[in-house]
């Protein structure tokens, strides 16, 4: 018999694993802003990938409900405020599993806002949604294993990978190789990726110093023309059509913060994450967190955390306990990975005074130098006041100057006024069309 209901936010690996684990024991609702399950990693354009389906099918057959294409705009201790393309509703919750994943981390360098420069994940998503990349020269630059995955995928879609630059040193990566000994599946993945990338230059301790723009006479005027690379004392220019840039991921913590969940102790140079106990329980009762939100850890860790969170939320602590050891092993690996991918302090020197830091409001670095805190930069310089509400630039200013940014105000994401008017429990419903589960 099923006892209680579990609402899971985010249908990436962690959320899907939580749904599959909880569905036999509880009434499960899984929601995501994308139309189908899979999240960023198992994004399949219109359909559902096999990996996502393997987790979702059993959950669905056990009665789990799917609520796609809708975003959580605000939340309190009793209900979530949801918005989809046409309407909004308040959805009461008993137990919550938060698995909202992560966003790409961007670090600024001259030209990082040019058309043609994208996040490594962003370019993958564009290609999955139909962008034709065949025959296009793509430079992949930044840090971390996601670069390899992005490069392999783009190559499989016909892109010419001009090179992969990794800012970490060979020595740091050797540490990573050691750490991967704890995880045979990681070792297998890595060697698989390198096999797919045979012939592609892979340069360690190397980064993009600047992206250059096509001149006005060129047919692609205004678009990315080339990147200027640096490796030690060597500097050179590499023409390319696209730059897929990635410096790892930053957890999506906003909703958890709004619900009062405490942050994990800060780790130097790493974006904030949410603190959880052995069973993925956050500091607020009845809220479990799984996947990247607890600290960037990748697919295997997300699956284990999701499974544990789903079981724990469904009251199956004894079952959840079986997975703790495996999860801890993955966490150990994730921590080693984070250490290996530590960003070189030299990267902080790349942006110039003209380099835009806040893209929404066009605020260049030079203007930010006048200010002493995130709040001052916001109030007097409009930094972080635009549509993304500082999600990208606050991470940059945190990295550059250790400015602290923490907001727990609704809405967690821009939302229609008609939706926000439904925030109160007793809101008059006449103003907005409801959508039905």
């Amino acid at each position: 018999m099923k006892t209680g209901s579990v609402t899971i936010i985010g249908a990436g690996p962690a959320g899907l694993a939580a749904a599959a684990a909880a569905a036999p024991y509880a009434t499960v609702t899984l929601l995501d802003e994308n139309p189908g399950p899979g999240g960023q990693i198992w994004r399949a354009g219109a359909g559902t990938t096999t990996a996502a389906a393997e987790l979702w099918e059993p959950a669905r057959q056990a009665g789990a409900q799917w609520l796609g294409g809708c975003r959580v705009v605000a939340a309190d201790a009793h209900a979530l405020l949801l918005e989809n393309a046409t309407g909004a509703q308040r959805l009461p919750w008993e137990k919550l599993v938060l698995a909202p994943g992560a966003r790409e981390r961007f670090l600024p360098f001259p030209g990082w806002t040019l058309p043609g420069v994208l996040g490594a994940g962003g370019l993958q998503a564009l290609v999955k949604n139909g962008l034709d990349i065949r025959g296009q020269r793509v430079m992949v630059a930044g840090s971390g294993p996601l670069l390899l995955a992005a490069a392999a995928f783009l190559r499989s879609q016909g892109a010419i990978i001009a090179g992969i630059t990794e800012q970490a040193t060979r020595r740091q990566l050797a540490g990573l190789a050691w750490a991967s000994l704890v995880s045979p599946e990681k070792r297998k993945q890595a060697s698989g990726l390198f096999r797919q990338l045979r012939g592609v230059p892979y340069l360690t301790h190397c980064w993009v110093e600047a992206a250059e723009v096509q001149e006005s006479s060129h047919k692609n005027s205004g678009w990315l023309a080339a990147v200027r690379l640096r490796r030690g004392n060597r500097r050179w220019r590499e023409p390319c059509d696209w730059l897929a840039s990635g410096f790892g991921l930053a957890p999506n913590i906003e909703l958890a913060r709004l619900l009062g969940c405490a942050l994990a102790p800060a780790a130097e140079g790493r974006p904030s994450s949410i603190a959880v106990d052995d069973f993925q329980l956050a500091s607020q009762s009845n809220i479990w967190c799984a996947g990247e939100i607890t600290g960037i850890g990748g697919l295997e860790l997300s699956l284990l955390e999701g499974r544990i969170a789903g079981l724990a939320a469904a009251g199956q602590t004894a079952l959840a306990r079986r997975w703790l050891k495996a999860r801890d092993r993955q966490r150990h690996f994730a921590r080693a990975l984070a250490r290996a991918a530590r960003l070189d302090a030299e990267l902080r020197r790349l942006p110039g005074d003209e380099t835009v830091i806040c893209r929404c409001e066009d605020v260049p670095l030079g203007r930010l130098r006048e200010y002493h805190s995130w709040r001052e930069a916001r109030l007097l310089g409009r930094c972080g006041m635009g549509a993304c509400q500082g999600r990208i630039c606050s991470d940059i200013t945190g990295w550059l100057w250790n400015w602290q940014y923490d907001t727990t105000r609704p809405p967690v994401t821009p939302a229609r006024i008609s939706t926000l008017a439904l925030m109160a429990a007793n809101a008059e419903k006449a103003s907005s069309s409801e959508f039905i589960l």
Partner: protein, 380 residues
């Protein structure tokens, strides 16, 4: 710090827009001026508010102060930096039905009597002036010379004017106590000054407990950019009544077009110390705004926040010397009108301080009205 060894003619506590205006007025009068700020200049109520420059007629005194202040702003506008985002958008006081339109006519007569340009719009003229409003409204009173600006930058500019004229800032200094002609700062420091202006907003109550200030919380929400959606500041005519109806929370309809194309949505009032955005109040405020502007529902809201207005029991600010300590002056209790009345406050205060003729009657603003008379026997 060097500043603490010097003696000043004037020390201003608080670098919000009111304090910055007072410091500027002080330096213009030739006073050696220091401003003491505990946190971020312009980061209190100045940063949280809407930023309107308006004429308000809640009382004769309020009308005199806002009208005088608006005139001062209009003189400054050519000098303000573009980042202060001043826009002369005018205010539309919306009359929902015929009875309210009658109120609008009376308001029009009263304002016109004071020389304020304003006109009555009928239903059709209102729809032409502001097409986003719902049909069926009775009309409006249009006050064309009202405007909006971005307060943190305006406050910073006022402060820079003072600084250019020689004023100094002591930042990060928490004032623990004030005496006649001396300010005590956390850490044991003392700042000497011939006169002290307390312009510390809601926190002023800690320094002058005789003035019964209460924080009146407000909610605001700002949208993404929709240039041209809204042309005027629009306010429901019942605003003053609703806003000051009593002690429970109230919401009223008030929208502003910002220079960025964003729409700023207000407003709410409740006595509270809790900084959190309250879903219940925010919902009601937005529902009320939507009832006047239906298409507002489709705009995307980016951010909601709260702030605290320093309110007095009679809804008038305190602008003048303390009766028991004549070298200490209050510039407190501006409620929701601190941006508008900052300039007028500064001039009125300096006139009293220097014994000059007051630009408007200072009587209604005297802090003395809140001081309970004690037996004079014990005092010299």
């Amino acid at each position: 710090m060097a500043s603490s060894n010097r003696t000043f003619d004037l020390a201003v506590i608080g670098c919000g827009i009111v304090g910055a205006a007072c410091a500027r007025a002080g330096t213009r009068a030739g006073l050696r001026t220091i401003i003491v700020e505990g946190s971020l200049a312009g980061g209190g109520a100045t940063a949280a508010g809407m930023g309107h420059i308006v004429v308000m007629d809640g009382s004769e005194a309020q009308l005199a102060l806002t009208l005088y202040s608006r005139r001062l702003w209009q003189q400054l506008i050519p000098e303000l930096p573009e980042a202060a985002e001043y826009r002369s958008c005018g205010t539309l006081w919306i009359a929902e039905h015929e009875a309210e339109l009658e109120l609008a006519r009376r308001k029009q007569a009263k304002l016109a009597g004071q020389g304020v340009a304003c006109e009555i719009l009928d239903a059709r003229q209102l729809m032409e002036a502001e097409p986003c409003l719902r049909p069926g409204l009775a009309g409006a009173l249009r006050v064309p010379d009202d405007g909006v600006l971005y307060p943190p930058i305006a406050a910073q500019w006022l402060w820079q004017q003072a600084q250019n004229a020689g004023a100094v800032m002591r930042s990060g200094a928490i004032v623990t106590r004030i005496q006649e002609q001396a300010i005590h700062v956390a850490g044991g420091d003392r700042i000497q000054a011939g006169a002290i202006i307390v312009a510390a907003g809601s926190q002023g109550a800690e320094l002058i407990p005789e003035i019964p200030l209460r924080p009146r919380k407000g909610h605001l929400l700002i949208t993404d950019r929709y240039p041209g959606f809204l042309r005027h500041q629009v306010v429901e005519l019942g605003y003053l009544q609703r806003a000051h109806a009593g002690t429970e929370s109230s919401v009223s309809f008030n929208l502003q077009p910002r220079a960025t194309g964003q729409v700023l949505i207000g407003s709410s009032r409740q006595y509270s110390h809790d900084r959190a955005v309250e879903p219940d109040v925010l919902s009601r405020m937005l529902a009320r705004a939507q009832s006047y502007v239906p298409r507002l529902g489709d705009l995307r809201g980016l951010r909601a926040w709260t702030g605290f207005r320093a309110a007095t029991p009679d809804d008038l600010p305190c602008i003048g010397p303390l009766p028991n300590r004549p070298h200490i002056f209050a510039a407190l209790g501006h409620e929701g009108l601190g941006i508008t009345t900052s300039l007028g406050t500064a001039e009125l205060l300096l006139a009293q301080m220097l014994g000059a003729e007051a630009p408007i009657p200072a009587g209604p603003f005297q802090p003395a009205r809140f001081f309970i008379e004690t037996s004079p026997a014990g005092h010299a």
